[in-house]
Symmetry: C2
Subunit: 132 residues, 2 copies
DNA sequence: TCATTCAAAGATATCTTATGTCTATAATAT
DNA sequence: ATATTATAGACATAAGATATCTTTGAATGA
């Protein structure tokens, strides 16, 4: 079990967009080069962020991507869910009488992780960096 | 990102062994049938638990598997690590000046989950079931 | 209007991992 | 000895990750 590279690309791109102008979009070309990944592949990842409404895409000359929401709202969990999906990390499909007690524990554990990711926003990270 | 089915098999098997006799082993045949998985495949999974010292195997007639440690010591995290490995769930291999701040957040989140899995033992689960 | 510059979407390719099966081998009890 | 059982290794298949390439469509600037 591992987070996908796509999630890493998404997080780094979001951080970059966060630090950039909220008006002038950044082309996928530049974003991709920055991370050593092909533009078309990154674009495919970013399209998923567009669909969740976290970023906007602008076609045409001088187009690209920029944040769409208030900066303060962007949580790690939002970004991760957009890429990895929202399904539970552990699913027991055996037939038990009622709910699987093992699954209950796994779910609790997952919620601890998600809670931290939900409470951490891009803002927090930018703040951290400016302090360093 | 998902936990593997192998982890689910391992957890359920451990719970079964936990509830069973600490002396008389249970054959992989029975354990496999219980979960609708082939004996050789389950055996491959259980061998990893043997290598970490959590369970013992007994060859030959009336052989099988049984717990090897004190029941109170068995944590979810031990079992999961034995199957999934202990590597971090998120690894940023980009070149940043110092540590990647995104990775730092992800690591914290993972530790929240691991903390819960480390503090939850098979004992806790058995207790829960007897109460229900 | 027209050419250029972009993102979006679809088809396809490759590699890795998950999820097994099958067979041969070693250990053990009767 | 023989039947039973775990172990190990080779092998097979399917799914997911990680892309690339090409076409399409939208927006802009001239």
């Amino acid at each position: 079990m591992k987070f996908t590279k796509a999630t890493n690309y998404a997080l780094h791109t979001m951080l970059k967009l966060f630090e950039a102008s909220p008006v002038k979009p950044i082309g996928v070309q530049e974003l991709a080069e920055m991370q050593g990944v092909s533009p078309t592949y990154l674009s495919k990842i970013l399209t998923r962020l567009v669909k969740t409404g976290m970023i906007e895409s602008v076609s045409g000359v001088n187009g690209g991507y920029r944040l769409s929401r208030k900066k303060e709202d962007m949580t790690f969990l939002d970004i991760i869910h957009a890429i990895e999906g929202t399904a539970s990390l552990f699913e027991c499909d055996f037939f038990h009488g009622d709910e699987c007690s093992i699954q209950a524990v796994m779910k609790e554990a997952e919620e601890k992780m998600e809670s931290h990711l939900k409470n951490t926003k891009l803002t927090d990270l930018a703040l951290k960096q400016s302090q360093a």
